[in-house]
Amino acid sequence: MSSDLNSSDLNSADLTGRSARSASWLRIRTVARRHAYVLQRAPQRWFDVVFWPVVDAVLFGSLGVYFSRASGTGPKGVALLLAGIILFHVVFQAEVSLATGFMEETWSRNLLNLMVTPLTEAEYVAGVALFGLAKLLMGVGTVSIVALALFAFRITDVGLALIPIIAILVLVGWSIGLIVIGIILRVGQGAEILAWGLIAMVMPLSGVFYPVTALPGVLQPVAAILPTTHAFAAARDVVSGHPLPWDQLALAAIGSVVTAVLAAVFVTRMLRVFRSRGFISRHT
């Protein structure tokens, strides 16, 4: 008997402190590694991180060039559209990587396998989000490189103001991803379309490319409560050469934290319903 492998010995190490933290970190990295394998071997997954970023950069860059020429606004219009699409990809990639990461477990019927390991729900989300950050870098990197190569727009010229804006958008993206996971836990795989559908709704409502005042009046109150609206408004100001509007940024930050808390509460409740009603049978 090779006692070094026995779970009784494992447990003596997992009781407290550093060993427990290192075991937790190992599980988080393992979940991230599992999703790296999926991306490596599923060509269709590259659509989200390469194909759509290229399509979006070409589409919105070209639209910007056309409208700038037609209206005589010069390169500023192109910059606003390209900055908008690049920052939209931050929230999009964060959301989609988290939601599709969970969906991969349902597609491969791996959910039960995971639920009977020591992996906690928080570790699982952290692992998928960790790998999601890598996908986010790929997706946002792709759209930024295409914007630079084809339209000479350098997003880094926006400066350090980008950092808090991106952080807020990542948090909102993860929150929407959690909400999608919660809905899938509750109603099953039929809700998968929301992984792309919810974020598609956020795009027009958040005024990614225009001020909220351009929206129909009935939608403006809805837009005003979205943290993304204030993050994109702040970004537009900075891209237009104005100082960072701290009031917009503060609203966006507060809103993103509130959204994250609500999303965490929602997914926790849905997980409770999932366990209580035995919905695992849908995934075995």
Binding site: A23, S108, T117, P118, R275
Partner: protein, 261 residues
Amino acid sequence: MLSSHAAATLDPMTSGQTVLRATGLVKRYRRTLAVAGVDLAVEPGERVGLLGPNGAGKTTTLMMLLGVVRPDEGVVEIVGHTLPTERSKAMAHVGFAAGYLPLPERLRVREFLTLFAKLYGLSQPGPAVDAALDRFGISHLAANMGNELSSGQRTLVGIVKATLHRPRLLILDEPTASLDPDVAHRVRSGLARICAEDGTALLVTSHNMTEVERLCQRVVFLSGGRVVADGAPDEVAAFFGRDDLEGVFLHLAETESERSR
């Protein structure tokens, strides 16, 4: 109901605490009472069969023991850790495999096993993966993709996954359902060896009563969500006035069928 639990006499964990203790488990799905007050204790090294006809409550009971389904009433304790509050600690001691679970498609067998070994806390899982593959005679499958395996091979890999971390409790749901007799024999031998060497407790469901008689020292029969018999296979058969477990199973299936009419 019989109550003569076959006490484990296997070294080295005989003196250890009860591996699994479930008390008063009740589960309702809307109007259906799936489990109606199940008590179950499994000692170190014990090999227990959880049996019963379709609809008896086996799967729901298993899922509650694994913390995947929350009981409406009752308590589950694994190696002293109570579910659901200490689920993560409890699951570090549990291995689970089911004949109906596929392998993730985009992973090689070694990658799949390595990932799960790490989830169970093995930071250098190579030797454990090699040993577990060798134990069940499937080292040659290590480089195969999950979707290249036959149904039986996938089941074997699932069992290997469940034993990687040398758990204190091994829960197997229909483990040999898709295996040919030769491979099923190899699985039974491997499982018996693990139980004997490590003192691992085994809780297994199966519809193959001959297999259960060969593998298990004790059987627990469920019917209508309740434990209706608990004891050594020959004692349980004698209790129902049948020659063997197959006879008991058919008797209970008939009872279950009459109840559902």
